[in-house]
Symmetry: C2
């Protein structure tokens, strides 16, 4: 009898999947039968609104079908209710679970109704993130208990998840059993379950629950950044940052390791401190996004090895000396509660894998974000902190090492140095004729030779010089001849400009005089030389291992990479020669890597495999590292590109050769050139 | 070249496995190659002594081999060291890992050197337990970290476990990472790992660790019993018991559920109380066995549904009313720490499955211990507490129900009633001529009419009457005619013996006069009638469902089953007619079931499957239950067996028929008869 039921043709776009269905079939049901990628959380109850579709009228010759308005059932009370609560549908959309097929029709699934939809990334050069989270929500009606056929609440929940969602082999743990009874009985045996793709039921909520969240966290030595995401939509709900409170135990990684060596139990203090800071970040992020902190059911973490170990409660002392043995280099899945993180009671924490004793999960995050292994071109990724973590390679090989740059690039161990914060000098120019400087500070648009600048000094005084400022001033000092190729401040120039003055047995350069006076001392120059030599030597070592002399692309990750002017980095020889428009900041690549791992579970095994294949180079045991280091101490690192750069930042003796072939970025540089010309 | 190496024939007994091996091969290595069941924890390092073998000399025609003393290598320094520490080998045994094959030989693997050896059970009627625990120990040497090939400590531990023990796909969690560094470095990179058969590495200890333990725990409403076992040898190291401290919240299950209903949060109080009691039991057991409590790495639990839920921290209120829904009826594997149990940090807790809302994991334990499903004969299993849990069936069908007997059988709600403890009357005889009683109390061998009894009263006074005493006194009162078939105390007998006296509008029987006077009141008799009727009605209901009139075997589990005289239970009609020698106590069958689950992991899926197949009968929804109940109120439950029993307990009018065919136990009964004859 059912054979003679009248059938209609349904064609889904953009997939092109098509099939015959009995009149009266719901569009959601047709989509599920054909395996069309149409989302649903509530399983067709008209609650979640995720199955919205468009049913266009007209002739579709490509699909050989005519779709008529009357082939779609009338709008239902359920859809009216949904729109009352959530606002009207756009573009005449319908709920796929409510709209029924009455005749041949075309159904268009808009991108936001697809299960594996794309999360758009801001950076134009990157592919979007596929939304494919590890944990998903499923609404079910659970059968009520029956004395005649006794079975536990949990068994009936599992049966419902199997019947309605085809989820089998489900497991759970004790915490679910503590809330299950009440959740089932609160909304008449309808619940929403959060199910991990490994089969664990992590939570149940009474009735329909529409949102669970995840947080991607980048635990840096100095700052902790958290990105709160809606796991159902992929949307970033907010980003929060905080200082890493471990700073009070030591500014840099090695001083924190030393603290543990000197103070047994110090690791536990630092573990508690960072966990508390993360808990506060979660509360802040949840409050700002107007969600409950228990809606956070997943967290992903990137961190350097010492931060990674301390956060996990693992003593980091082994990382402080050879052979720099990690307790584990593997990716980790742990209950967030087991590390004292307060979110959903069963929130899951995923740590990206570490690479080596000095190359952490943060570098894995940078690799996941930048994907150098997907290109044939050779990419150099540099993440500069107290250590520079360096990745070099392409689709054939990836190499990584860490180089001990020290904290000079972050403004530490520099006489007037400070972190990047309002009041810090971040940009510097020195007139090669007069040796007079001009600079700008964070928080003020005007340069120091602009009358506007003076007006602001009362409310925003100059407080010091940050990492990008110190790099620019040293580079400009070199370009102006104030320091020679060995980095020696040229005392005889004191005659020309009293800013150059004796400072004990060496000389310094007066950059700014005021409440805070900033001199660039000989030692400051030495610190930058040491740091840049270490960074360059690490890069060079990897290039040796790759047997290459030049790289095709350079990406500078992290705060350092975002703030410095890459041209000055190249003038100082921090990074090797590269066509200038192939050098760019990667932004917070480690944090973005954590966000990718949060939203797309497939990226986890991917990065784990990539990291296993990375060739780890230990600079400490490579004699060539020392050679490169000594060689790289001098200014400038000789190259054809140097000449171009020097021209771009407007050296007094411009040469014309190769300007175009070096691929100089014209936009901003040209503007600057014009502005400087106007200044002069 | 290696092809020409001289070979020797090795025959292992009792398996008969044989093979050719190069001269110099260790016996352990030969055994592993052939798949001979020869144990080792240390992997051939001469530390654990588990691979001891015997190498008998002589001709073995059955195996067609001549085994000579000189075909076995000399005893080694490693064996000498082992014997210095652990005592000399018995019977000239050798360590299989140290003794090498020098020529044709027979190697006998004694039972205690087999991996899956049998753990002997005391009860002769039962099969032994196969030692096959879920968690095993493995000694490994872990490769040290190498800067040239960086990898985490955990990865190298896993590699060692794979290389030396063929364990693959291993996982672990955060707690292992907290101890791993130190464990690896403490004994020069030799560690012992505890590995769960599901692939989790649960713990590591520096060097060689020879013992891990498990505890089987039976959480009763009244008492908690713990059996500490060595998981490597299967040996029971000790048994400890404690009162369930939840008693202060209510004597029986339903009063505890009521406590939660009346006092929100009361479940948490009771959860804390029982967990603390278990923690104290673990400490006591560990202290007595001279082990550390952290050596306890596995626990198995049986409990009735309410105790099960309270221990797990699940609110038991749903179990207090129809439809009596369990939160979960499935077996559970949880981290013991997650339920507040303090043992090894990663100790695993296994709960046997529950059967229905009133038939708990304790009944599953009884079934696992008694295995009624392995027989064609029909077994009745009865576990009497406040509820009687009843199982009936054979290899074809198993049925279970629970019947609300109330606490009378435990001495509660009886005027002079008390728990089974020193001073409690436990045995009673009444002379049918004089109506004078004699009795014995717990803690004293002599009967009350023995002059020795009087002497002891100062130090051990009569304090009350316990469950078995109340059953015997009511049965004897009936046999002596003091109560009639309706249970009415016969007031006219006051003329015959003043022990029968008016007690308000009914009559009572004076059993003992002293500091504590014990009268059996009309109400006491009624309580026993209600309890026995409930028990019998439950049994009868299952028999109806099986369509049978008699059972082949009866096993009475638990403290009640151990203490009562089964003959009196049958006289009162607690249990149906059965050939007397087929009625026996099952001892602490639930606890034994927990011990089986502890030692033999295969028994877990077995009992889970058995329990799934059990037909659950809910007495509350069966009209026949009430019918049977009303019918069973009267004394005696008429039967041919009754006549025999009455004879055995020496009624004044013995009959001779069927005494032998009833299969009366002769030993103790005959002694009693003789003693009584002497008394008279």
């Amino acid at each position: 009898m059912s054979e003679s039921t009248e059938q209609a043709l349904v064609v889904f776009t953009p997939s092109g999947k098509r099939g015959q269905f009995p009149i009266g079939t719901s569009i959601l049901s047709a989509a599920r039968t054909l395996g069309v990628d149409l989302d649903t959380v509530c399983g067709g109850r008209g609650l979640c609104g995720r199955c919205q579709v468009l049913c266009p009228e007209g002739e579709f010759p490509k699909h050989n079908i005519v779709s008529r308005a009357e082939h779609l059932s009338e709008s239902t009370k359920v859809e009216a209710r949904y729109q009352r609560i959530n606002g009207a549908f756009i573009d005449g959309r319908r709920l796929g679970c409510q709209a029924n097929v009455l005749g041949d029709m075309v159904v268009d699934v808009p991108p936001e109704s697809q299960v594996h939809r794309q999360v758009i990334r801001k950076e134009a050069e990157h592919a979007n993130i596929t939304l494919n989270p590890a944990i998903s929500l499923h609404v079910v009606e659970v059968q009520q208990p029956d004395m005649h056929d006794p079975s536990g609440d949990l068994r009936r929940l599992k049966q419902a998840l199997e019947t309605e969602w085809n989820l089998t082999g489900l497991t759970t743990d004790l915490s679910l059993l503590h809330t299950l009874q009440e959740a089932l009985r609160a909304e008449n045996w309808q619940v929403t379950a959060a199910v991990h793709n490994d089969g664990r039921i992590l939570g149940v909520w009474p009735g329909f629950k529409e949102r669970i969240c995840g947080v991607a966290i980048d635990v840096g030595s100095t700052t902790i950044a958290a990105h709160l995401c809606d796991l159902i939509t992929g949307e970033v709900l907010g980003s929060n940052g905080a200082m890493n409170p471990q700073i009070r135990f030591g500014e840099d990684l090695m001083s924190r390791v030393s603290y543990v060596m000197m103070n047994p139990g110090g690791d536990a203090e630092m573990t508690t401190a960072v966990r508390e800071a993360i808990n506060q970040l979660l509360i802040d992020a949840a409050t700002e996004a107007n969600i409950d902190v228990t809606d956070i059911i997943e967290l992903t973490f990137v961190a350097n090895p010492v931060m990674h170990h301390l956060l996990l409660g693992i003593n980091p002392v082994e990382l402080g000396g050879a052979p720099f043995a990690l307790t584990t280099d593997e990716a980790l899945n742990v209950d967030a509660a087991s590390m004292g993180i307060r979110a959903h009671p069963k929130a899951q924490a995923y740590f990206l894998p570490c690479i080596a004793g000095h190359v952490g999960a943060d570098t894995a995050g940078v690799i996941l974000c930048e994907e150098p292994g997907k290109l044939d071109d050779i990419t150099l990724l540099v993440d500069v902190g107290t250590n520079a973590e360096i990745v070099l390679g392409n689709s054939k090989r990836l190499l990584a090492c860490s180089s001990p740059t020290g904290p000079a690039f972050e403004g530490a161990q520099i006489s007037g140095g400070q972190r990047a914060a309002p009041g810090a000098i971040e940009r510097v120019r020195i007139d090669p004729e007069t040796l007079e400087p001009r600079f700008s500070i964070i928080g003020c648009e005007a340069w120091s030779d602009d009358p506007e600048f003076e007006k602001q000094l009362d409310t925003l005084p100059v407080t010091g010089i940050c990492g990008s400022g110190i790099i620019e001033v040293v580079a400009e000092m070199f370009l102006a001849g104030i320091i020679d190729t060995d980095g020696v401040v040229q005392g005889h120039l004191a005659e020309k400009n009293p800013r150059i003055a004796a400072d004990g047995r060496t000389f310094s350069y007066l950059l700014h005089e005021g409440d805070v006076t900033i001199r660039i001392t000989q030692n400051d120059v030495r610190q930058i030389q040491l740091a840049k030599a270490a960074l360059y030597a690490g890069v060079r070592l990897l290039m040796d291992h790759m047997s290459i002399d030049k790289v095709d692309r350079i990406r500078l990750a992290g705060a350092f990479g975002s703030h410095i002017d890459v041209k000055y980095a190249m003038i100082l020889g921090l990074i090797p020669d590269c066509i200038l428009d192939q050098v760019a900041s990667a932004g917070n690549a480690a944090g973005t890597g954590a966000r990718i791992a949060l939203l797309d579970r497939a990226s986890r095994s991917h990065i784990e495999n990539v990291v296993r294949g990375v060739e780890k180079i230990e600079t400490a045991v490579e004699p060539k590292f020392q050679e490169h280091f000594v060689e790289a101490m001098a200014f400038p690192h000789k190259s054809a590109v140097f000449t171009e750069l020097a021209k771009v930042v407007k050296l007094p003796e411009p040469t014309v050769s190769q300007a175009d072939s070096a691929g100089v970025q014209r936009g901003r540089s040209a503007r600057r050139r014009r502005r400087r010309a106007a200044d002069n």
